[in-house]
């Protein structure tokens, strides 16, 4: 028999979960942005944070990639020549992420495992439980294109639990043994679903799919990109001329994982840290000699599209784009992956 949970019980569940997990939940911050952040453990602070949680279809401005790959991360500390590793590892509960972002996490998992293992990412992501809440309405209307990228609005696999919004309650879908154990452990918060849940869930999902209005020919774009030198340079050059190279698309993207490394020291004591970097920045490929192999702006702009749609696909058989639409939503000059896909598949000028 399938399970459900009443929305009014979510706070109580999270209060219990905090005792065992670092619990990451979307929370409304001052200014109105909704960001995924850990719940505090201290009772009073926790109460206040729970008042600000937001599990509706809010636009998580930054993807949850920073839970496992923080924007700024200490790699090790050093003092008088001695190195002390600073690898973080703790049980993490991601409660209420979207299916596109789940796909982003699964993609990053593969990347950080490939060839040399990335100790920092894998250690942070080692013990986790992911609860997806599917989108009833697209959080970034006009930018979200998960139905075209086949990543949402509901996940098919990869989650531990998935919640399906049914008004006053959520239907609970179990995607793993860990998910089942979670429901069993906190069984007091869940209840059996008596009616025809499957039919209701299917109907909710079908409606949610229709709500994603932006439809693009994503698969066709992947096929075209697989073909060498298909994209005329003029298209890239036009994007390159328009781009202001701010890096917003890269920072908000769930699958962008490039970073730079630098040392931060005072005297003989300090840290080595890594920080997100962006392939569209001019210094990204500049060598110490001053030589820069990617020295024209349009080359920096096109690099990102080729990476996501062509080379990632060729290497992993997964598209490096998950259709979340954040690049378009965050772009000050209205460039984004969906527009690029439209440009190359619809044979007309979109941007």
């Amino acid at each position: 028999m399938s399970k459900m949970i009443e929305k009014k019980k979510i706070k109580g569940l999270l209060k219990e979960a905090v005792k065992q997990w670092h619990t990451y939940v979307p929370q409304k911050h001052i200014g109105g942005d909704v960001l995924i952040a850990p719940l505090p453990e201290e009772a009073k602070e926790l109460e206040a944070a729970l008042d600000n949680i937001s599990l509706a279809d809010d636009d998580l401005v930054i993807s949850p990639k920073d839970i496992f790959f923080p924007q700024l991360e200490t790699m090790f500390k050093f003092k008088k020549g001695e190195i002390a590793e600073t690898v973080e590892s703790s049980p993490k509960l991601l409660f209420g992420i979207k299916s596109c972002d789940l796909k982003g996490i699964l993609f990053a998992d593969e990347f950080f495992k490939r060839d040399f293992e990335d100790a920092y990412y894998l250690s942070r992501a080692n013990e986790r439980l992911i609860v997806v809440i599917g989108c009833i309405n697209p959080p970034r209307p006009g930018a979200c294109f998960c139905t075209s990228a086949k990543t949402g609005p509901f996940a098919e696999k990869g989650f531990d639990l998935q919640l399906v919004d049914n008004g006053e309650s959520y239907f609970v879908e179990t995607g793993s043994e860990k998910g089942e154990e979670f429901v069993a452990k906190y069984s007091g918060f869940f209840q059996d679903e008596s009616g025809d849940a499957e039919k209701a869930v299917n109907s909710i999902k079908a409606k949610a799919e229709k709500a994603v209005e932006l439809k693009i020919e994503f698969q066709k774009a992947l096929d075209l990109m697989a073909n060498d030198d298909f994209i005329p340079e003029e298209k890239y050059k036009r994007i390159g001329e328009r781009c202001v190279y701010c890096g917003a698309c890269v920072y908000t993207c769930p699958t962008c994982t490039c970073f730079n490394v630098f040392d931060n020291a005072k005297g003989d004591e300090g840290t080595r840290v890594r920080i997100w970097d962006a392939c569209i920045f001019e210094g990204y490929t500049r060598e110490a000699s001053g030589h820069n192999p990617r020295n024209q702006k349009w080359l920096m702009a096109c690099r990102r599209y080729e990476h996501k749609l062509k080379y990632d696909k060729a290497k992993t058989n997964m598209s490096g784009c998950v259709g979340c639409g954040r690049c378009l939503a965050s772009c000050p000059v209205d460039i984004g992956m969906s527009k690029f896909v439209q440009e190359i598949t619809e044979d007309k000028k979109i941007m």
């Binding site: 192999p293 690099r303 290497k315």
Partner: protein
């Protein structure tokens, strides 16, 4: 503590500088040895690989290993002072600490080179990564046929490994040809870019492999000249330089068309390089 199975690749190991030798007006060769005796003795690498070399508090830079794996116990790095990290390394003296992690990248295909005539063609500090292979060849001289080293630099003062060029010259079946763009009074060798040496000595593709390293523009003209001399793409091998921040295929900077120079390279054949899209400006 790290909970993944393998060691944390980003943690460097301490090493001590054993000697510093000034090579050219802006490059020095640092001979270093891991502080941990067991590591110093058991450490293995291949000709053509590089390491991430750092000073704690200053930063880390990818540097090719210029010593030969045939000479054990120590590592040598030929470094040009050309940025924050390399400037700071140049200020170090014998006994100072450096931190190393690696070795990273693929290597020159030693087995495939056996029984071949070898042309080493280098520009400036490009001789540093080739020197690892050259000394490997010199230490196993009977395994290889005729060796020609064609080396060009801006001025005589830009030439690295001057003593060793003299040593190699005296080894049987080994020739060293030098050229500079701008000579000084005492210069007795050729004048002009390295391809000018084609006029002085035969560059013949028969049973031969050419190994090239230098600035991108030099590699471009050398490969053109080699193709003209009849070398097949697979018989031209080069080692590329890119901004390799992590060395292990994660940071993204050295990416060329879906490949990472740090893990798929830095050694590539001309054939592989020509397969990269033209707009990547590899050579």
């Amino acid at each position: 503590m790290c909970t993944c199975n393998k060691k944390n690749e980003y943690i460097p190991y301490p090493a001590k500088i054993e000697s510093v030798k000034k090579e050219s007006f802006d490059t020095k060769t640092f001979r270093v040895r891991f502080t941990d005796k067991n590591l110093a003795e058991s450490f293995q690498y291949k000709q053509g690989q590089f390491m991430e070399v750092s000073i704690l508090g200053v930063g880390e830079a990818p540097i090719s290993i210029t010593s030969s794996p045939s000479r054990k116990g120590f590592l040598e790095f030929n470094i040009r002072a050309t940025g924050k990290v390399t400037d700071a390394i140049h200020a170090l003296k014998k006994g100072d600490a450096l931190y190393l992690r690696g070795p990273y990248g693929n290597s020159f295909p030693l087995e495939e080179l056996k029984g071949k005539n070898l042309y080493f063609i280098a520009g400036g500090i490009g001789l540093a990564p080739l020197r690892s292979l050259i000394n490997m060849v010199m230490d196993n001289r009977d395994d290889f046929k005729h060796v020609k080293i064609l080396y060009g630099a801006k001025t005589p003062a830009d030439m690295c490994f001057a003593d060793e060029l003299e040593v190699w010259k005296k080894i049987p079946d080994t020739e060293v040809w030098l050229t500079v763009d701008k000579p000084c009074d005492a210069w007795g060798c050729s004048i002009g870019v390295v391809t000018e040496l084609w006029k002085e000595t035969d560059v013949h593709p028969e049973n031969a492999v050419a190994i090239v390293c230098g600035p991108a523009i030099m590699i471009k003209f050398v490969t053109l000249a080699l193709k003209k001399s009849g070398f097949a793409g697979k018989d031209i091998i080069m080692t590329l330089e890119r901004y390799m921040k992590c060395g292990i295929g994660k940071c993204g900077h050295c990416n060329i068309a879906g490949k990472f120079v740090c893990t798929d390279g830095p050694v590539f054949s001309y054939e592989q390089v020509k397969a990269f899209p033209e707009k990547e400006h590899v050579i």
